[in-house]
Amino acid sequence: MRTLKCSSLGIALAFFTLFAVFAGGAWAEEVVIGYTGPLSGPAAQYGRDCLAGVELAVEDINRAGGIKIDGKAYTFKVASYDDMIDPTAAVNNSRRLVSREKAVAVFNPVFNTIAAMMQINEQRGSEFLMMAYTSTPALDKIPNQLTVAIPPPFAAYAIAFADRAWEKGWRKGAMVVTLGAYGDEWRKEFRRVWEAKGGEITADQPANYYTETDFSSHLAAALATNPEFLLVGGPSDPTGLVIEQAKNLGFKGGFMMVDQAKLNYIVDVTFKGDITKMNNVWGVVRTLDLGVHSETQALIDRFVQEKNIKVPTSENFLNYSAMRILAAAMVKAGTVSDPAKIKAAFNEVLPLPVEDNPIMYVGLQGSRLLVQASIQFIEENEYKTPIQSFWWIDDEKELQRLVDMQPPEHKVHRRILPLEGYVMK
Amino acid sequence: MLSVKYLTKNFDGLVAVKELSFDIREGEILAIIGPNGAGKSTVFNLMTGTLAPTSGKVFIHEENITGLKPYQIVKKGVARTFQTTSLFDQLRVIDNMLIAYKWRTRLGFWNTLFHTPAWKSQHDQAARNALETLDFLGLADKALAFIPTLSQEEQKRLAIGIALVCKPKLLLLDEPTGGLIQEETERIALFIKKVRDQGTTVCIIEHKMQMIMGMADRIVVLNYGQKIAEGTPDEIKTNQAVIEAYLGGDVHA
């Protein structure tokens, strides 16, 4: 009886499949997008934010009917696994995503794990596109044909901060930045840029923002050198605490935050909307000013409603963008399975129409996607107009071309702050 | 062969052993007796390097061994047992013997790793020796047994065997029959005599007077860490100081 049931079910299934194959484009095929990152442990919030961006993009694309290649429709599915920033786990997850689930691209948001994944993503027979969400410039120095780095290199932010600080007449700064790969490089880079200008770093007191609960001794040591500004930052919540503790210790100068910390998150969550507590703080542009307000606001609302994220950040947005670009590149390349061809198509599809993607990605150079690094200031208790810095160009004509691509209603200041090693000749 | 000279040990101001001197002569059975807390075990611990004396010295054949570590003193031919039966109770009987034989061999890491000719011969020699000693102990058929399966008497015997396997010149026994019934005690006593007859000098700490009187050639009596008498069993039996020390105490424990 049982075998009869099974075999009849099998026959039915076979017929069904046959029918589906014959029917061709009428049935959408699912393309798997892989994600591995910290979904538990200290960096889980960061990992989940990045994942949410990819997921929402996939949901949006699927809602619009997926993508069509040669008349055949494809929808997307995200398969995600936790790696807790362990390279072994990240490599295992990538193998699983690629060999079991046939993922063609895998997202990962931490340099340490990306570095291990880049050892296997070009292996013949199991290639995949490494979608690397890391602003660490070290990534650009690893030769790899199948990597796409999503955010701007953080050196671009360092230069932009240093530039404005110098203009303001500040000369002495101190640093209380998070420990770790990312924070270490930020400190090193900012010191390099600042000292090149002739400025002085009076104190460097890194602290582990993930495990430390009190920063007063770091701050006391830093403030004792009478700096005009403090470079701080790591995850947003402790960064807010650092700023509060520094102000409590009587510091009246300015703050700059590394790109991991988010202005609007700290204002809205840490300080419950009290912007006065964040006065004189500079940081990466708030989410709303990433693109044209109307489009951006719509996307923010969707993150809030559909992904249950209280205060969407650039982690959500940039990963969202990257996924949209990836889908568009697949269409252009005419394949959902050849990572090399898909990567080659990136430059042809950029920039995307603004209604698909509010962030102005304009191209791909080497492994790095090109997008301006925008910083913003909270002064006189309000968000000021952001400054976009273009870090991969060094002439006005190119700037004009790029500005013309942007929707005119996007209100920003623009600067050319070329970054060594990134300027195309 | 072994002499103790003016040995003193203080524990946090408490005097456990005071100015103690005595000799152990080749081929004899010397007993050290005394009431509870007289410092008998402490004397053993001082002689074998487990404790460092506050002052005084220990000699073997004129060689000063004070301050040496226990494992070094073993190599001078002095083996000991502990008051509570002390064995490698997670291992088998034969393993216990082999471990005790280890220092006589050169079975180190490299020899073991490469199974050199030296390893082979010494390994065989160790096994042979262990089995011979087990035979002597009457435990040959238990060679592969695990310790917890042995009877208490067998464990006591094995504890002496571990000390014997390297054929020491001097054997120090700390209450080898503690906790045993009369019959078992007698068997152990006979066994100890057999050990002495094979040419090993024995020094024994014991509570059981009857057994000691029948076995020892000479007796040293301690009280409050000091020697109060020394002599043959007959001399000790009649010694006034000894009788006083044991007065109220249980002579036949």
Partner: protein, 287 residues
């Protein structure tokens, strides 16, 4: 000079937290011989319980603190009964593994319930003032004096009450206490209640000044472990002195030598101390 005083002040405040957390742990390790490596995670949970009652349910700070003590106390009792009691006869290393299991449960449970992001408990006493050039806040002073009060209360409890002396009796001689009709299991539960409760106090004191996160327990748990061994297992003065010592070393070492290597200084000092005195500063020989 002002900087030095400021760092000393900070060090004393850190030290107060360390001392309270280590105090709870030294009771468990000294009396029950349980290497409760999850102690820091109990502290973390204490922070979240405070958060639950202060921020989510809107209760006052002090009532929430009391509730946190009781809740954590019972969590401790459950942990002892479920995790450690079945392991009484096993080697220490097994209990250590069980502790790792327990801390994984606590950390991921908190992560599942409250999420992985850091959170803040509203500060009941945010006022700051300057004294001798040192900037202080009322809450920070509360941590320092609260810790002293707690230590005194605990001392009185252990020395002057019948229950307290029972605990000490078990600490000195477990078998003997059992023969004297002391219910050792009850004492174990009680010890865990006190130990977890004090961890909750430390967390409640600290929560309004800092960010609470699921990961906050790991490092302080390890430090408490080290303080306890440094001060001698079961030694209350050892835990207190060790706690303040570590707090000051970190604060001064971090401020004057290198912030990145601050833990190296503390842990290095530990290794040096142990290699000179293998049983810790106030340690008896381990049985």
């Amino acid at each position: 000079m002002e900087l030095f005083l400021q760092q000393v002040f900070n060090g004393i405040m850190f030290g107060s937290t360390y001392a309270i957390v280590a105090l709870g742990l030294t009771l468990v390790m000294g009396i029950l011989h349980i290497p409760n490596f999850a102690h820091g995670h109990l502290y973390m949970l204490g922070g979240y319980i405070t958060y639950l009652f202060v921020a989510t349910l809107g209760l006052g700070y002090w009532p929430s603190l009391l509730i946190a003590i009781v809740v954590l106390g019972f969590v401790g009792i459950i942990m002892e009964a479920v995790v450690y009691r079945p392991l009484n006869e096993q080697p220490h290393i097994n209990a250590f593994i069980a502790a790792i299991g327990a801390l994984l449960v606590l950390e991921s449970a908190v992560e599942v319930i409250w999420g992985p992001q850091g959170m803040r408990v509203p500060n009941p006493y945010p006022h700051t003032f300057e004294f001798l050039g040192i900037i202080m806040s009322v809450q920070r002073l509360l941590v320092i004096f609260g810790a002293i009060l707690l230590i005194v209360l605990l001392h009185l409890f252990l020395k002057k009450t019948l229950t307290g002396t029972t605990i000490e009796a078990v600490a000195q001689n477990r078998e003997g206490a059992m023969l004297n009709g002391i219910n050792v299991n009850r004492v174990s539960s009680l010890t865990f209640f006190i130990s977890s409760g004090t961890a909750a106090v430390a967390a409640s004191f600290i929560a309004p000044i800092f960010v609470i996160s699921p990961a906050m327990g790991a490092i302080i748990g390890m430090k408490a472990f080290i303080i306890v061994l440094l001060g001698g297992m079961g030694s209350i003065p050892g835990a207190i002195i060790g706690g303040y010592f570590l707090g000051l070393i970190e604060s001064l070492g971090g401020g004057y030598v290198s912030a990145a290597y601050k833990d190296v200084i503390a842990f290095g000092a530990l290794i040096v101390i142990f290699s000179i005195k293998p049983t810790g500063l106030f340690g008896k020989k381990e049985g």
